[in-house]
Amino acid sequence: MSFLTPMLLGGIGLIALPIVLHLVMRQEPKLLLFPALRFVRQRRDSNRRRVKLRHWLLLAMRCLLIALFAFALARPTLRGSGLKGKEGAPLAVAMVVDNSPRMQYVHKNRTRLDEATEIAGKLLNKLPADTQVAVVDLGRAAGGFARDLGTARTRLSNLRASASIRPLAEVAAEAITLVADKEEYRQEVFLYTDLSSAAWNEEGLQTLSAALSAEPDVKLYLIDVGVDEPTNASLGDLKVRRTVLRPGESLHVETLVETNEGGSSTLVELWLSGDNGDKMTKRGQQIVAATDKSSSDKPAEVAFEVTDLPLGTHQAMVKLATNDPLAVDNERYFTVEVRPPERVLLVAEKPSDALFVQEALNPTLWEQPLRFVCETMLFDELAQTDLTKYKSVLLLDPPAQSTDTWQQLLDFANQGGGVGLFLGHRARRDAFNSVEAQQLLPGPLVRKSRDATYLRPRRLDHPALVGLRDYEESIPWKTCNVFTYWQFEDVADDTYPIATYANGDPAILERTAGRGRIITMTTPISDSLDPEGRDPWNVLTAPAVAWPFVAIVEELTGYLTQDSTGDLTFAAGTTARVSLDANQQISSYVLRQPDGQAMRRTATPGERTLQVSVTDQLGNYRLTSGGSATESSGRLDRGFSINLPAETTNLARVAPETLLDALPEGRAEVAQSLTDAQDYVDVGSRGRELFSWIMAIVTIVWCGEHLLANRFYRSAP
């Protein structure tokens, strides 16, 4: 507590006045004749005590009255914590405005962001002119303090909701650090938030709590602009089964529809753009029964399937045809590509050796090749073959090759091709340890290990096996018995294992070469279960373990052919990466944004991915470049989609008490309305004036004194 005019506290000394008056100028009672005095006398003593008590009470009230009056005139003010020792110092204020898409929630015809900026504007008007104000949004780092209040006001009015945002707590923590730098100032952070659980998760609260603890002078005001019971219909994150489709393969996308609006059912639509990324057409719609709030924990599932997509890049949108307060989560976007099957060359000693692999990659049961088209040839023919037709070459249990063949394979890999070496009983140490062969192999062959073991990759996070990760629990690794395998020594520096055996020895190794990839497996995948004259190296192809074999072969081949483009859907604000085909040569391209704006961009030479970092618009982006159809290496027609992660529009609210509990005690306040917020500003800038309250007490005491005195000294007429 402090006083605006502490000098006037001296007035408390005036309480001496009634005391002196009481002692010196005691009021004489009125003298009256009264013959029946004998009846008065009998009970006089108790009455006299009562009179005395009342006298003192009256004196006390008068002293209190004077003291209170002096106290009120000294204008006591209460100040919030975090201001100790800085009474009267100017303010340093950071206005942190949550401008996430969630703040576009419309209530009473106003978005939450409108509400926040309006309150912030009104608070700005209340701040003294010498206040240092920083206006901070989630889009960019807290820059610094505005030059003056006018600039701050302009920045505030220019705030727009952005999909590319950083976590609120992180930005708030930065703002706390920013104001804390102003050491001579009183430091306050006003945080405009809808108190949604999306922004205020456990981790965010910890960040904020830590920031507050680190800066003990900063006071945080959370200004709640949220709506108490928000209604919203939203789409969950899209699950696209395959982003790269082959001709004939159908597009499958599914998502969840969550609504707490109740009442009518909702229409969900799938819109697909044409080949050139131009106008979208509706390709499917479903009516989803409304789930009311009580059952909102079970959101409705929606799935769309589209068949017969032509080759090319296809961009689509799943849309909720509803008109709810928050529109931004009613549309989700995705991009898929339909590509022709990749050509894979299988080279074997005899055609039967390639049979298992061919069946795994391109089953004969299927009328039409999907992912791969396999061609089989013998090792003798390899030297005369033009490998550029193929995306990858798999050598199944290769024998010693000529120097030219090794070189030919290395060149092929350097150009972006994939070479798979599946070593078996035909490999010879001396031939394979030649200089040329060693350019492809991970290292010199040392010995054949005959330790019975089985394939057991420790982790499935290498891109070559990442497709298996979903089935990790159900893969019967122990049945993938391997009896014999090659061991290397002095593995080259640019080599690293993709998978190991159960005993820890490397099973599959990768070595990069130029733009391509080389994979070496230390045991064959084409070995017969019952070879003539020797024991089998493994039982990978046995029917009991056939499905992991098929999966591994397909994944490895896919990795070698570099046919998985990676994800084509990114979260807003992240850098979108579109990997190019191995043989694609792009120098510049045109990026068309969802709003139709197109810009020419230059690709970094040598980079195999195109990176787009300006992704704050939600929707489908298209990357195109010219080049004729024949000159395919220069032509580009790709795309990617930017979505808002579904959890960022979770409108469920966090109770203010929960927030305050998680933050250091007394360091944060929650304001539910403009009045609350203005009160805080008043308290912050001038302190809470107690004048009116004390004057109210003065009035009460005064009335009491008057009543008592009147009753006491009432003069007889």
């Binding site: 004489e28 009672p29 003298l31 009264f34 004998r38 009846f39 008065v40 009342r54 009753r711 000294y713």
Partner: protein, 299 residues
């Protein structure tokens, strides 16, 4: 609506008349007027004889039947069947002169009442005397039933001043010793003294064969304690002073004074003494009625 005459029973009205004889007359007339309508009529006075009308007599007393027979005006004369000797015993203590807000002091009230009774008694041919006392008997007037007695008593009453200290018990003992025949002793006093000797003296009077009516006259202020705020009260007789908070004290005081009056009343009943608690705001008829009731018992 009460007649004008009856309004003279009210102290505030009677105060407007300064002559005591007139006051007495008015009070009695007002009282008798009211009495005609009451079932008590005829108890007190009986017709005795006709008398020639003289100017000054009440024309309503004219007996019109006698006029019809004789063509002369006669007025009816009334007479009690038995005569009783009345003594009006007036307290002359200084406290009797007290008044607060009321028009009449206790003494004036007592005087009016005494005058009225005197008038009433003489009117009925009852001999009436007057005794005044302070600490002891100051003055006395032997009882007579002549009409002139009214004048004597009234003139004495009119001259009295309440200045003395009081000792009712002593005075009444003195009076008891003085009285030879059974009489009706009417005591007018505020009785502000120790109750024990007082009651003893009253009982002594009663045992002496006298009928006693105690008109206990208090000021309205003494009955109601209407003071407010801090007051210092002074006893006019002893000059003793006490400072009290009137508001806080009122309840206590009222309890005290009421218990005092109740006690007196109770004790008087025990001794077959008529105790009439009065205050100066009460109309006179209450006291007069008490006298008449007593008078009837005699008859």
């Amino acid at each position: 609506m009460p007649s004008t005459v009856e309004s003279y029973l009210k102290p505030e009205v009677i105060r407007q008349i300064s002559r005591l004889d007139l006051r007495a007359q008015f009070i009695v007339k007002g009282f008798l007027q009211g009495l005609h309508a009451s079932p008590l009529q005829g108890f007190s006075v009986e017709f005795s004889e006709h008398r020639r009308y003289a100017p000054g007599d009440d024309p309503k007393d004219i007996d019109w039947l006698a006029f019809a027979k004789t063509d002369r005006y006669y007025v009816k004369k009334f007479e009690a069947e038995t005569n009783i000797t009345g003594y009006l015993a007036m307290d002359l203590s200084a406290s009797m002169g007290y008044r607060y807000r009321q028009e009449l002091s206790k003494f004036e009230y007592a005087t009016c009442l005494a005058a009225a009774l005197c008038y009433l008694m003489v009117h009925q041919n009852d001999p009436v005397g007057l005794v005044t006392f302070g600490e002891r008997i100051v003055d006395s007037l032997a009882p007579k039933s002549k009409r002139a007695q009214i004048g004597n008593i009234l003139s004495l009453l009119a001259r009295l001043e309440p200045t003395d200290k009081t000792n009712v018990a002593n005075s009444l003992n003195q009076l008891a010793a003085m009285l030879k025949h059974s009489s009706l002793v009417m005591v007018f006093s505020d009785l502000l003294e120790d109750p024990e000797p007082l009651l003893a003296s009253l009982r002594r009077l009663r045992h002496g064969g006298h009928d006693v009516i105690v008109f206990h006259i208090l000021d309205q202020a003494e009955v109601e304690f209407p003071f407010e705020g801090l007051v210092e009260l002074e006893d006019p007789e002893t000059n003793e002073r006490l400072e009290v908070d009137a508001d806080g004290y009122r309840a206590d005081y009222l309890e005290e004074i009421n218990s005092f009056r109740d006690m007196l009343g109770r004790e008087c009943v025990k001794s077959k003494i008529d105790y009439v608690p009065l205050d100066t705001s009460m109309p006179f008829d209450h006291a007069l009625m008490e006298y008449l009731l007593n008078r009837r018992d005699w008859g």
